[in-house]
Symmetry: C2
Subunit: 340 residues, 2 copies
DNA sequence: AGCATTCATGAATACGTATTCAAGGCTATT
DNA sequence: AATAGCCTTGAATACGTATTCATGAATGCT
């Protein structure tokens, strides 16, 4: 409860130097004579001095803090991404201020304002979108913002996604090669670019081969909605022999309905393919064939682009798409002569 | 790229008042005449002024920021907790700065220092521990620290856990009531109080009834270690008819080995009980009987205690234990005449 | 040796806000 | 009507650091 704040002034007095000298010792890349440095460091050590980041940020205009806004963690893909983002940014010397926001634009805008008040150097939006008037304001203030795993029609925003259309197409081609006839799609939320693009890629690739999907339903990235869609598929006259689901997290719910409620043999009676390749997809309980979103490379791209914009090296926003492979496991019938 | 920072000075000039008046308008609980307030608010609106949190924090000594240190998110319980913590603290007006740290004390201490440099008002340690010399320093600086889901022998630290010993005992009693004879335990990491307490509670309750566990192995809160322990149990002469696992996340791995590799009927041939009651435990794929850790109440307790210490209302540290019920599902044989 | 340069240091200032203090205007009380 | 008292506002200052500028010492050069 003593609450003894020790300042650079205190260190200066004890070391018999001026305050600016202390500051210089603790500012990387500034010249100080070794004699001074030794005196200052010893005094600092004895007093337990550490620079006050707030004061430093106030004057430099650099808070070395990145704001991260995320909507939910139901989908473990975002959890993995958070973990990797945190470590990558820390390596670069940045800290993370994290906010959870509801997915409607009003709430996100509110939170972005909060972050701006905290003088963050940059903002990452994971799986949420923001209004265009706010992005204008961000440009004005010179604070870069990047969308993670979400695209945006406004090309003045940087965004990092996986190659969702290509991914959807890969699924279609794999299923066609496996001889599937009645392919249904429980899409990701159509309010999100990821959901739309995966759907478009899938449907377009089918149509390119002269096929139509049996059914397409918006699964809203929700386990409940996906489960309901599955049940409805199998209460119809014509039932699917393959289901492509908008992401792994909801695909798990589909698997459970197929196996548990409908008593089907997944991979034999019906094929299921997901999207993300979260860690759980490799668990024996699920063994899910899925399109990998390379979280590591996506995170690296976000961090690189964000820091480039912060440091003024990249003034132009970029839309970066990262391709990921189809990971073949047991939940979907393999084409004849498939080699691992 | 304009980067026009508008300050309280700018607002003051435009409104024809002094800078302190502007400050007062934006400081809750300070009296200003309504005429002044109107003028200031209009000017602020026109200029798009928002107070600079850094400058405010520097002078008030309150950053309204809580540091959160977490080791890993493999265990979804911590993900749920993070989500709830974030929302609860935001409701109270606090922001979260999040860090991931490796679990060894040196790394944690480093991160705590980082947080102190950022003048956080309080620190929450989730599933990690810290050295005692650092806690001394924290006391000196007057920054409260709370352990979440981890106890500490040093009773000068506040901590919030579930009633782990009682929980372990509940499992023992349930299994005994169900007529199990050979009960094994794949414990949580014995380097953590949660792992030790659940183990102690379980073993003590067995011994109180004159029973000994068939085997106790440290599962390290790791899926791989738990899976290996399961295999070794069933390659021994005497095999268990029940396994209590240190947390749900590792229990899932145990379930998979039992079902997939050993072809056992879980709930019939062998009972499995976990700890946490994460959302996935209710999924049909797992249907896991488990002891619930009431994340909501634990989070509420952490937030309440932390804020009490920050505001100086609670000067004494407290160790808070929150009791949770056994959630009975299909993974464990129920006692005769069990009523839901 | 004398002068021009570089170099390290200290004094002063700035960053953007909250707070103390003094002064002034106003109401209320007698 | 005169004074005591409160309430509102502005001037000055503080928070803890980084940075500009001036100064003097030290070095290098011919």
């Amino acid at each position: 409860m003593a609450s003894v704040k020790v300042t650079s002034q205190d260190v200066a007095r004890r070391a018999g130097v001026s305050q600016p000298t202390v500051s210089r010792v603790f500012t990387p890349g500034v010249k100080v004579s070794s004699a001074m440095e030794a005196k200052v460091r010893r005094a600092a050590e004895e007093l337990g001095y550490r620079p006050n980041t707030l004061a430093r940020s106030l004057i430099t205009g650099q808070s070395m803090t990145i704001g991260l806004i995320v909507a939910y963690f139901d989908n473990p893909f975002y959890v993995e991404a958070l973990e990797k983002l945190s470590r990558a940014l820390k390596d670069k010397g940045y800290n993370i201020m994290i906010f959870m926001a509801a997915n409607h634009a009003g709430d996100v805008d509110q939170v972005v304002q909060d972050l701006l008040d905290h003088q963050v150097d940059g903002i990452i939006l994971a799986s949420v979108s923001t209004s265009s008037d706010l992005t204008a304001r961000l440009n004005e203030e010179g604070v870069p913002l990047i969308l993670f795993n979400r695209g945006h029609s406004d090309k003045s925003l940087s965004a990092v996604t996986s190659a969702n259309r290509a991914g959807g197409a890969k699924v279609a081609e794999f299923l066609l090669a496996g001889g599937h006839e009645r392919m249904a799609h429980i899409s990701g939320w159509q309010g999100a670019s990821t959901g739309r693009d995966r759907c478009d890629g899938f449907v377009s690739a089918l149509q390119a081969k002269g096929k139509e999907p049996l059914a397409v339903v918006d699964g809203l990235f929700s386990r409940e909605a996906a489960a309901a869609a599955t049940r409805s598929f199998f209460s119809a006259a014509e039932t699917p022999d393959a289901i492509f689901v908008g992401n792994d997290h909801t695909a798990f719910a589909v698997l459970e309905v197929l196996r548990g409620e409908l008593g089907l043999d997944v991979g034999q009676d019906v094929s299921v393919i997901g999207y993300d390749d979260v860690a759980m997809s490799a668990w024996p309980s699920f063994d899910l064939t899925t399109v990998r979103q390379p979280a590591n490379r996506m995170v690296d791209a976000v961090v690189a682009q964000l820091i480039a914009q912060i440091e003024g090296r990249a003034t132009e926003p970029r839309q970066i798409e990262i391709d990921g492979p189809l990971i073949v496991r047991g939940s979907a019938r393999k084409p004849e002569g498939w080699v691992e």
